[in-house]
């Protein structure tokens, strides 16, 4: 596991650099099982940084989220670099952002953190209830030790870690300028069994499932806003001209919203699971994302967010692409 003092030292060092504007990492939250992502601008604040299994959020989302505030005439835009700490999964977002030319590689300083998994707040709440104190945790290859206000309990990884971690293919960052700890061994694989299982259902069963799920959606668009890959200047979903989906929340518009969102992430979603994590009404968004991830992998031998040199999936083709459904 990463040594937090080393991490802080490194962060302070990076922040002290002239050409660095800010650093995105995590600090202890105010309550509960999730840390707070934080953006720090001064080396003196680096002391607050942490890394442990409560650091669930994907800091790569913030790179593209940063508003480019209008620069008054005569002034220069601040183009200094952004430093960002990333776990394995988070780093894939950076890779994919680079594939999509969201920014230049030298615009970011990536501090990679090999990761053994992060906590799923919903699973944790089922085990520990609602906690108001700040939780910290440690994870090793088998167990997670959760410290709730000094009371340490050890639980099995699968009972508390996020699903994505239990099938993590990339625990070690794929892109970084510096790795803050030794690489960890890959412990899991992903057979997409869940996708297969879902696919086994009839169209009616599938729709019944989604109808219930989609009708809960309040269209807060958090799943979009949190996504590191959702950074269009103006999202088609909320555009007024042309208006693809209406703002009304009903099963028709909600469904279309979800199809659009999933579609726009086809071949781009890097499975950080942030969308599902943030959804306030627990819609299993990953069930859509993972279906596409699996199909893309199987049909086009493509995996987003692993190769900076890759061509975007849907902006490329192979003459041999499958076409069995075409008449």
């Amino acid at each position: 596991m990463v040594d937090e003092s080393k991490l802080r030292e490194k962060a302070a060092e990076v922040l002290a650099r002239e050409d660095v504007r800010r650093l995105i990492g995590w600090k202890r939250g105010t309550y509960g099982f999730e840390a707070a992502p934080c953006v720090i601008k001064d080396a003196s604040e680096a002391e607050a940084l942490i890394f442990d299994p409560t650091c669930v959020q994907n800091p790569a989302s913030f790179i593209t989220l940063e508003e480019k505030k209008p620069v008054p005439r005569g002034q220069e835009a601040d183009t200094r670099k952004i430093a960002v700490m990333v776990k394995g999964c988070d780093s894939r977002a950076i890779v994919q952002q680079l594939v999509e030319k969201a920014y230049d590689r030298d615009h970011v300083i990536v501090l990679g953190i090999p990761c053994l998994g992060v906590i799923d707040r919903r699973k944790a709440a089922a085990l520990f209830g609602d906690v108001a104190s700040q939780v910290s945790a440690k994870v090793d290859a088998e167990k997670v030790a959760v410290d709730v206000g000094g009371d340490v309990k050890t639980v099995d990884r699968k009972d508390i870690l996020m699903d994505k971690c239990l099938r993590c293919r990339y625990p070690n960052p794929l892109v970084y300028d510096e790795l803050l700890a030794d690489e960890v061994e890959k412990w899991a694989g992903d057979e997409f069994a869940d996708v297969g299982e879902f696919e086994g259902q009839s169209p009616e069963e599938k729709w019944a499932f989604w109808e219930e799920q989609f009708s809960k959606c309040i269209r807060c668009y958090s799943c979009r806003n949190v996504c590191p890959m959702c950074y269009c200047v103006e999202c088609v979903v909320t555009k007024l001209q042309p208006q693809w989906t209406r703002r009304a929340t009903d099963i028709s518009e909600n469904t279309v919203y979800h199809i659009q969102r999933a579609w726009h992430l086809a071949g781009r979603c890097i499975e950080c699971m942030e969308c599902q994590r943030v959804c306030p009404v627990d819609i299993p968004i990953m069930t859509l994302n993972r279906k596409l991830t699996r199909d893309v992998k199987e049909m086009f031998e493509y995996e987003p967010g692993v190769d900076v040199e890759a061509q975007p999936l849907l902006a490329s083709y192979n003459p041999q692409d499958p076409e069995d459904f075409i008449m």
């Binding site: 620069v71 008054p72 200047v233 103006e234 999202c235 088609v236 555009k239 726009h264 975007p312 902006a315």
Partner: protein
């Protein structure tokens, strides 16, 4: 006031097309329906809308009713869209304010049920109306064409195309990578089926090309970059340093004789079976007849030192043409059209190790054999193998085997196609062997013989009658047994079904033609596409075989696919004529239905750029309230309006004019409603 702010005033014209539409679709009912659609100010019917009176109806209404959108519901737009566009134009309305509803091909001719056909016609008209509301005026532009052509590659294809264009009075820049023009054809000995001497028919053309006042020959040169669009390209050509003063070199060759490395460097032109020095002329008839120093081998250039006394060549050269300080030169040229004629490479036999080409010196490729039998080749045209370095000794083969389809029609090496020339050149070579070694035993192993061309079958027949054995079978392995030159070919005679081992002391592999190994260079420069076989892809396999997706760029010769010399020449002439059409007319129309980017919505991901088959999009800097961001920009002269970019863009920031999302969505709304 600008049309932008004018409310659509739509005229709908329903055509009876004689009885073609009228007998099935309820035209009066349709007119009545159309007249009630929002925005429609007039709706009329007429027997033949495309006739003069029909068109006049439209023109009158444009004038009298102030129409600013016109819908013609008649036949397919593929038929009469241009007609009605013209009508609008003549009436002073922008031609792109036209929308057509195809109620003949899509209704009356295919749906006998009157009611159903009428219902569908209504829907189609309604969809046209909602789209028409959102149509925009588009401008048709023309650009001037620079009357000059760039020809890349000086094989027979490039030579022929250059000569044709130059003869028509236009400037040609002929860029050839190697020191001499001529290409593969110059390497050949005789040519099938007529057995003309290749050099005899080619050399005069090579000389013409060098001397033609309209042709600027740039040998030993390479295209560095090209930008622009049809009619207006700017290219940069790198003229590689020859280290020999081009103007003073007389081509006498004393330098080469004196070169310390003379005869020690394999000559590429001879497929490495002959030798040259570090300063060389690839072959005696080379054009231009100017010597070139090989910078990778020359001692002076690689080590900074050549012998104790300094470079022998320089010392020997009378005019003092040797110049080790020479540098590459970059030349910028402006051209209106481009012909790509970069030819082919032969199959790389190392990819078929079972044939032993790499290890066994008397297994050679067809091209090597061409050099071997060529009078200008290393053996002076004698079929002699195994000579030593000094060119002495060696033996004449007694049993010669030719093997078809090496690297062609072979999925295992990834080439599914037929190379089209191997059957014939092997027949030719078998004939040459028979000619030169009358006693030799000659066997040809083939899958089947494709003698499709003019005079081919006759030639094949003649060769067989000359005592060349044709054995149907595809050898599985070729190996050497003992010390002598005997090579064993393991093969099954598939006609008799008997496995056999044929012993030979010369095996010629009928290697197929492949895309040049450095083909990427050209692909990247021109954004050309490749067909599945890897050769350049033509715009249409049947109807536009010399055009490419990039306007003003044409293909000639084997770079587009394997072919023999007559086909190459024919295609070169085709490419030349295509280029000439543009240059002779002097202007080219630019597509009006191009894509536009809304820079404020673009996120600069470049997806559109990646998919655009015409390389019409680039990312450029844009100032977004003080912040510099990258956004897509469409080069309207390159864009063909296919709209692929729009489907790739997640932000909807790029849209093809007249087929924008906001124009199509209302159509979907009308046609999607189930009733």
């Amino acid at each position: 006031m600008d049309n932008l702010n004018r409310r659509p005033r739509i005229g709908v014209y329903i055509c009876h097309c004689g009885i073609n539409i009228g007998s099935v679709v309820d035209v009066p009912g349709l007119v009545e329906y159309a007249s009630r659609l929002p925005g429609v100010v007039v709706a009329r019917e007429y027997t033949y809308m495309c006739s003069d009176p029909g068109q006049n109806l439209v023109k009158e209404d444009i004038k009298n009713e102030g129409l600013n959108r016109v819908i013609v519901a008649s036949c397919s737009p593929r038929m009469h869209e241009p007609t009605f566009r013209k009508t609008l134009k003549e009436a002073g309305l922008n031609p792109y304010y036209l929308e057509m509803a195809n109620i003949r091909e899509q209704c009356s001719w295919v749906h006998p049920d009157k009611e159903q056909a009428t219902h569908k016609a209504r829907k189609l008209v309604e969809a046209a109306v909602v789209k028409a509301m959102l149509l925009e005026a588009l401008e048709e532009k023309e650009v001037d064409v620079i009357p000059a052509c760039l020809v890349i590659g000086a094989g027979i294809a490039g030579i022929q195309a250059s000569l044709d264009i130059a003869d028509a009075g236009f400037k040609v820049y002929l860029v050839e990578k190697t020191p001499s023009v001529g290409g593969r054809m110059a390497q050949l000995d005789k040519t099938f089926p007529t057995l003309d001497c290749s050099a005899c028919i080619l050399t005069p053309k090579m000389v013409d090309v060098a001397n033609h006042p309209n042709i600027e020959l740039m040998s030993y040169s390479q295209l560095e970059s090209i930008e622009g669009y049809v009619g207006n390209f700017k290219a940069t050509v790198r003229k590689k340093a020859r280290f020999v003063n081009f103007n003073t070199c007389t081509g006498c060759g004393v330098c080469a004789e004196n070169c310390r490395l003379a005869g020690r460097i394999p000559n590429e032109f001879d497929e490495n079976i002959g030798m040259r020095g570090a300063i060389y002329l690839p072959f005696p008839q080379a054009v231009p007849a100017k010597y070139t120093i090989d910078p990778e081998r020359c001692l002076q250039l690689t080590k900074g030192k050549c012998g104790k006394e300094g470079p022998a060549c320089a010392a020997a050269c009378g005019p003092g043409s040797i110049d080790f300080e020479q540098e590459d030169e970059l030349v910028e040229i402006e051209i209106g059209t481009v012909i790509v004629a970069t030819g082919y490479d032969v199959f790389d036999c190392t990819r078929k190790p079972e044939y032993g080409w790499e290890d066994i010196d008397n297994v050679m490729t067809g091209l090597e054999f061409e050099r071997l039998v060529s009078a200008s080749g290393p053996t002076g045209g004698h079929v002699i193998l195994g000579r030593d370095k000094k060119g002495e000794g060696g033996y004449e083969p007694k049993k010669v085997a030719f093997i078809h389809c090496v690297g062609s029609r072979d999925k295992s090496v990834g080439n599914e196609y037929c190379s089209r020339v191997c059957c014939m050149y092997l027949a030719k070579q078998a004939h040459l062997v028979r000619d030169k070694l009358p006693d030799a035993d000659i066997a040809v192993f083939y899958m089947d013989v494709r003698a499709f061309g003019k005079g081919f079958e006759e030639f094949y027949d003649r060769v067989r009658r000359e005592g060349v054995r044709y054995i149907r079978g595809n050898p599985s392995e070729i190996y050497r047994t003992g010390e002598d030159h005997t090579v064993v070919i393991k093969v099954e005679d598939t006609l008799t079904g008997t496995p056999m081992e044929y012993e030979a002391d010369l095996v010629v592999l009928g290697v197929g033609l492949e895309p040049r190994r450095d083909v990427r260079e050209i692909i990247d420069l021109f954004k050309l596409s490749q067909s599945t076989d890897g050769f350049f892809m033509e715009a249409h396999p049947k109807l536009r075989p010399v055009d490419t997706a990039s306007d003003g760029v044409y293909l000639a010769g084997c770079c587009q696919g394997p072919k023999d010399i007559p086909d190459t020449v024919a295609q070169a002439k085709g490419a030349a004529s295509s280029a000439l059409i543009l240059m002779a007319y002097g202007k080219v129309k630019v597509e009006a239905l191009v894509s536009v980017v809304s820079p404020d919505e673009c996120r600069g991901c470049g997806f559109c750029m990646e998919v655009c088959p015409f390389g019409a999009i680039e990312l450029v800097d844009q100032n977004r309230m003080g912040n510099i961001v990258q956004v897509a920009q469409v080069n309207e002269a390159l864009c063909k309006g296919c709209g692929s970019c729009a489907a790739a863009c997640l932000s909807g920031a790029i849209q093809p004019r007249s087929f924008k999302d906001e124009q199509i969505l209302p159509q979907i709304a009308v046609l999607g409603v189930r009733i």
